[in-house]
Every structure is written in structure tokens, then in C-alpha cells.
């Protein structure tokens, strides 16, 4: 099968809308299709990665456990916009999994290298 570079751009906070959750479902399918998958987290999307989500009282599945599945699928290219973290008072230490913190401009360069960009 042809391998293409798929980047998933996550821009939304984790629980207010379903975008983040359904985006993750596509990420896992693309990985199962053995595509070259990367994820970029911009804007409120950085909140998806924050550790310590407590979602029991709102009756919604938490993300934190699912991030572990990414490594099982060999999805290890996670890029987080430094400016988006800083604007929200966050650093890489606040995140649940290891990521590469890049400037928006650097993430823009990564986007230019992709074959397929899916933005959620």
C-alpha cells in the first residue's frame, strides 16, 4: 500500500465538542493503515494533552489513557505549538505524554511536508 504523510491538526479543547475524540479515531485508523502519521496541537487543542483530566462527573471518557495507545500504533510524532502553550499558561511539563514543542512557524514547515492534512 502507498504510504503518505498524514498530519492531523487538533485545534479544539477536549470535551466541549466531539472533534478531538473523533479526530483520535481517525488517527488510529490511519496508523492501522500504516501511514506516516503525525499530530499537531494548536490553539485550544493543547488542552487535549494536559494531564490530570477528571471527567467522571461529566460522564465523558477521558483522553489520557487513550494517548498511550498512540505509541502502540507507532504514532510518536506529536508537535505542540509553543505559543499556544504559553498563551494558556502551560509548559511541556503539564502534558500527559512526551511531545516535541515547536514554534508555530516550525509547525507550518512540518505542514508543508505533508501529503494529507486533516484539520479538526
Amino acid at each position: 500500500m502507498t504510504t503518505k504523510k498524514f498530519m492531523f491538526v487538533n485545534r479544539k479543547a477536549p470535551y466541549g465538542t466531539i472533534y478531538a475524540w473523533e479526530a483520535l479515531e481517525v488517527v488510529l485508523i490511519a496508523a492501522a493503515f500504516e501511514q506516516d502519521v503525525s499530530l499537531a496541537f494548536l490553539d485550544d487543542g493543547v488542552f487535549q494533552l494536559k494531564k490530570g483530566h477528571q471527567t467522571k462527573d461529566i460522564g465523558v471518557k477521558a483522553f489520557e489513557k487513550t494517548w498511550g495507545a498512540l505509541e502502540d500504533y507507532d504514532v510518536t510524532k506529536l508537535y505542540v505549538a509553543q505559543e499556544s502553550l504559553a498563551e494558556r499558561g502551560l509548559t511541556a511539563d503539564d502534558l500527559a505524554i512526551p511531545v516535541e514543542v515547536l514554534s508555530r512557524a516550525e509547525i507550518g514547515k512540518k505542514m508543508e511536508e505533508q501529503d494529507v492534512l486533516l484539520s479538526f
Partner: protein, 130 residues
Amino acid sequence: MKFAILINEGPYTHQASDTAFHFAKAVLARGHEIFRVFFYHDGVNNATRLTTPPQDDRNIVDRWSKLATGSELDMVVCVAAAQRRGIVDDGEMKRNGKDATNLAPGFRISGLGQLVEAGIQADRIVVFGD
């Protein structure tokens, strides 16, 4: 050029489906190919035949159905997103023990692999969403 289209928003609330429709028509009018139109998130709501807009408004669902039958467009609705939102064909009705179907003509329900395949096969995948 071979295009694929991803629609992530439902009809009427959001312009994504309208804009995607006009884009799809323009693509075909210019002699390009559309490998697939994939409906995801609330975009699956573009596929319910029970939509009944006021008579002086456009019928977004019928418009897609007519485009599909007129140009053999492959229009795929994500099964997981459809199940969450109650978009049902015969197979899903039987599988999930429901008592009705509502999938409009020209659409079919299938998995997210169809979206990934569209990304692989098309020269460009264009996303319409929020």
C-alpha cells in the same frame, strides 16, 4: 486532478456542506475527478432523507443525492459517527436492532478506513469544517 472531500459539519447550521457542494460541482464542471466525499462528525447529518426544509429554501440533502446519482459520486458516511447520531441504513438497522432507516439515496455507510483510503488515493483532500 483527483480530489477527495471531507465534510465535518451538518446541514443548515454551518456553511461547510453548502461550500463543499459548490466546490464539488465546480470540480466536476472543470473535468476533474472526485474520488470520494466523506461525511464525518456532524457532517453525517447531511445524509438523512427525513430532512424537510421550508419550500423556499434549498434542500441540502436532496442536492447531494442528485449530484451523486447524476455523476456516480461516491458519498460515504462514517459508521461510528452515524451510529452516534442516528443515521441508519438497512444493515445498521438489523445490526443494532433499530426499527427504521433514514439514509438518503446516493449515500452509503462505511468505516473510517474509507477516509484514509481517500487521503491515499486522491491528489488533494479538501476539508470543509469549523
